[in-house]
């Protein structure tokens, strides 16, 4: 299993948000069409659907590439990702002229640390497990 380690790293990275997307899409569909929330979520759904899974795959690929020379925690590396995704996500909202509800916008100071914690835990345990299972970088699961 020494062939195409970067491809396997990419696939291990996109697996988690791709599966989780099912939950996100179900929640969005229920909110929008069952509870008739008057917010055009479909205009910005492209970000969690396309950008986030690819960002995870590329981030894991970058980790594997860097970890060949420097060993550091996968959890901490993953915890840095929301610090990039949040501004990009906000930029997408601005470009698409999507009005963020004020209460969600004001919740961002609380949402940001929660996102960092969740990313840390998911990357450390779930992505680490997938990396080990796919033989990407077996030592990360112990790190």
């Amino acid at each position: 299993m020494n062939r195409h380690p970067y491809l396997r790293a990419y696939l291990a990275g996109i697996a988690v948000p791709t599966v989780f997307l099912l939950v996100t899409m179900t929640a969005y569909t229920l909110i929008r069409y069952v509870y008739n929330l008057p917010i055009p979520i479909e205009r910005v759904i492209v970000f969690p659907m396309a950008a986030v899974p690819n960002a995870w795959g590329l981030w894991n690929l970058l980790y594997v590439a860097l970890a060949e020379k420097h060993h550091f925690s996968l959890g901490i590396f993953g915890a840095v990702l929301p610090l990039l995704l949040v501004p990009v996500g906000y930029m997408v909202l601005r470009i698409l002229d999507f009005a963020v509800p004020a209460e969600i916008f004001h919740a961002m100071p609380i949402a940001a640390p929660i996102a960092v914690i969740l990313y840390y835990l998911i990357w450390k345990y779930v992505v680490g497990f997938l990396n080990a299972e796919l033989g990407v970088y077996p030592s990360v699961v112990r790190g």
Binding site: Y28, P48, V52, A115, I117, V141
Partner: protein, 75 residues
């Protein structure tokens, strides 16, 4: 083809193909195999601070459920 010709052919073939040497393994592969098998069954230990982080994040989500849509957008 007669028996004599078959013997001659065997001799010719044996002469043309040099005997293969060094077929013995240079080292025992079983310890390596065993190490890899054990590596795959390593139980992941979750340190107390990770449990604390999970509890803290869960508590914040319970206290501020309005952050959930923002989190879903970025996950």
């Amino acid at each position: 083809m007669t028996e004599r010709e078959m013997d001659e052919l065997k001799k010719l073939l044996k002469g043309a193909v040099p005997p293969v040497g060094g077929t013995e393994l240079r080292r025992d592969l079983w310890p390596e195999m065993r190490r890899r098998l054990e590596e795959r069954t390593v139980r992941v230990r979750v340190p107390w601070w990770d449990w604390a982080l999970l509890a803290g994040a869960s508590l914040l989500l319970l206290l501020f459920p309005r952050v959930i849509p923002a989190l879903l957008y970025h996950l």
